[in-house]
């Protein structure tokens, strides 16, 4: 039953361009990108118990590296993508060493501070980043010579990357390393006494989350063909965090659901309601009051209750 539903959903996703217009296809592409980003943040927040408010660093830096290399230094998309992902992952390794000196609120503040530094640099180093004007006139890559300029082709490309990302992150959390990670989240002292190295487990997860944050950043810049310092802002980090919490942190599908919700409100509702932020706030309040653990755990609890009143 569950598998049939999943298969139907996958088929619907794959066939979306055949029944939806360009507006909705583009919206779907943005949702896929936001979902990858939220899933990577969920590795930290949900499975690692490390609440970060600076995850946009990885999205933004990957996007900026790719944008700069292709537009200014004449790199092809392939090499630029590799440099961008390797660079972002290396940055995550360094940021992890700094941020993991603390935990809890301290960790959150350090991630926030580091991302603010990058945001400030993107704004102020205008000779490199073009400052507030952003970098425009970018192109999309052509993997295997296929143009990604149409809404449908880009959507399929994003969906393919998104599926791989989802599978790999799911595998990651259900592996024995994933069990070590949730163990360290719940009982770090006990885990250390059992022979696990809590710091190393957290650090590796931080790097892995940074890697996928970078991948979502590449897709982000390919989609928009433009990059602006706001992609590095706290708002960008906070929106993703909101999605993770609203959807259900520490669940496999929750962050994707949450990211979808945030994006729909942002892009769709903003056409009808001017103050969409207020609407987002109200929806978030509703979720916290009614389903404090998030949409996905909340709904599955509801379904179980209706399924078998024993």
């Amino acid at each position: 039953m569950k598998w049939i539903a999943a298969a139907l959903f996958a088929a619907m996703l794959a066939l979306l361009p055949s029944f939806a217009g360009d507006f909705y296809i583009n919206l779907a592409s943005q949702i896929v990108i936001a979902a990858i980003f939220a899933l990577s943040l969920n590795l930290l927040v949900g499975f690692g118990g490390m609440t970060s408010l600076g995850h946009a660093s990885f999205l933004g830096v990957a996007a900026y590296i790719s944008a700069l290399l292709t537009s200014r230094y004449g790199f092809g998309h392939g090499p630029a993508a590799i440099v961008s992902i390797v660079g972002t992952t290396a940055m995550a390794a360094v940021f992890g060493i700094i941020a993991l000196r603390a935990s809890g609120l301290g960790f959150l503040m350090i991630t926030l501070a580091l991302s603010q530094v990058l945001w400030g640099l993107a704004y102020r180093m205008s000779n490199v980043t073009n400052g507030d004007n952003g970098i425009a006139g970018l192109t999309r890559p052509m993997p295997f010579g296929i143009s990604l300029d149409s809404a449908a082709s880009f959507y399929w490309f994003a969906l393919a990357v998104g599926s791989v990302a989802f599978l790999m992150m799911t595998t990651f959390v259900s592996s024995s390393f994933g069990s070590s990670l949730t163990g360290v989240r719940d009982q770090p002292r006990r885990m250390a006494a059992l022979g696990f190295n809590p710091w190393m487990i957290r650090w590796i997860t931080f790097i892995y989350a940074g890697f996928w944050g970078g991948v979502s950043g590449l897709l982000y810049v390919y989609y928009n063909k433009y990059i602006h310092p706001t992609s590095l802002s706290t708002t960008s980090s906070a929106e993703a965090l909101l999605g993770v919490i609203a959807g259900g942190s520490g669940t496999l599908t929750g962050p994707a659901v949450g990211a979808t919700l945030v994006l729909l409100l942002k892009n769709y509702a903003s056409a009808y309601v001017e103050r969409w932020n207020m609407l987002l706030g109200l929806v978030f309040l509703f979720i916290v009051l009614v389903m404090p653990t998030g949409i996905v755990p909340g709904l599955s609890k509801l379904l179980n209750r209706r399924g078998g009143p024993r």
């Binding site: 595998t171 990651f172 259900s174 592996s175 024995s176 390393f177 994933g178 069990s179 070590s180 949730t182 163990g183 719940d186 009982q187 002292r189 006990r190 885990m191 250390a192 006494a193 059992l194 022979g195 696990f196 190295n197 809590p198």
Partner: protein, 251 residues
């Protein structure tokens, strides 16, 4: 290990720990032979758990040394000491509430295996871990609850899972911090049997207040008070010592 087996499994020398002006461990020296059964007694606040925390590395001593099988581990992290054969249980139950009993014991097994770093294969595909975890649960009489989350089981059963997680590691030195705390008489008897059944390769150091049960399990006893070793030696000698009566037994 090496050809010459060290004389002592656990050796503590001149251990001292202060928090500001408060001295919680004063010049404590202990030596525990491989396979020994040692009971540590003392009134509340005598510094027993603090001593355990310094042995495991959760707390760094102000001065002094901790040696495991001749290796100076004073500067090592808790997880490194675990890999040298040290394992412990907690006075306050420290389990993974949302996970099943089997998963809890599996974590105990995984901690010392290199497969704990493996990121591709689902944990559920490791049949050897599952079989071993269920064998251990069977040994503590909780196999029928293997797939229940820890939050579902009774307090006395949780105490046994505490023990099972530590035993899963086949430690060479096992620290038990009040393994009988809060148990009924029947449960005490069960846990006592489990402790008696611990293989003789393992040295057991136990903090316990229930003297009736604990003294039966011990060969040697150390009495701590105000962070200081008051009496140390063979069980009967320590029990008979007038200082023990004065400090602890209150006779």
């Amino acid at each position: 290990m090496t050809s010459a087996e060290p004389t002592y499994a656990l050796e503590i020398s001149n251990l001292k720990k202060t928090f500001g002006g408060l001295v919680v461990t004063q010049d404590v020296s202990l030596a525990i032979r491989p396979g020994e059964r040692r009971l540590i007694i003392g009134p509340n606040g005598a510094g027993k758990t603090t001593l355990f925390n310094q042995i495991t590395g959760d707390m760094r001593p102000t001065s002094g040394q901790v040696r495991l099988f001749g290796v100076n581990v004073t500067q090592l992290a808790p997880y490194q000491r675990a890999h040298l054969g040290l394992s412990r249980t907690y006075q306050i139950i420290t389990l993974f509430d949302r996970d099943t009993l089997e998963h809890n014991v599996t974590l105990g097994l995984l901690g010392l295996r290199s497969s704990r770093w493996q990121m591709w294969r689902p944990l559920s595909h490791y049949d050897d871990l599952s079989i071993e975890a269920r064998r251990i649960l069977d040994a503590i009489g909780l196999l029928h609850l293997a797939s229940h989350p820890v939050s579902d089981i009774a307090y006395g059963e949780k105490r046994r899972v505490e023990l099972a997680m530590a035993l899963a590691q086949k430690p060479r030195v096992l620290l038990l911090d009040e393994p009988l705390a809060g148990l009924s008489n029947a449960e005490r008897a069960t846990v006592k049997q489990l402790i008696t059944a611990i293989p003789r390769e393992t040295a057991v150091v136990m903090i316990e207040h229930d003297m009736d049960t604990a003294l039966d399990l011990a060969e040697t006893v150390t009495l701590l008070n105000y962070g200081r070793v008051i009496v140390d030696g063979e069980r009967d000698a320590v029990v008979a010592d007038p200082r023990t009566r004065e400090v602890y037994l209150g006779v």
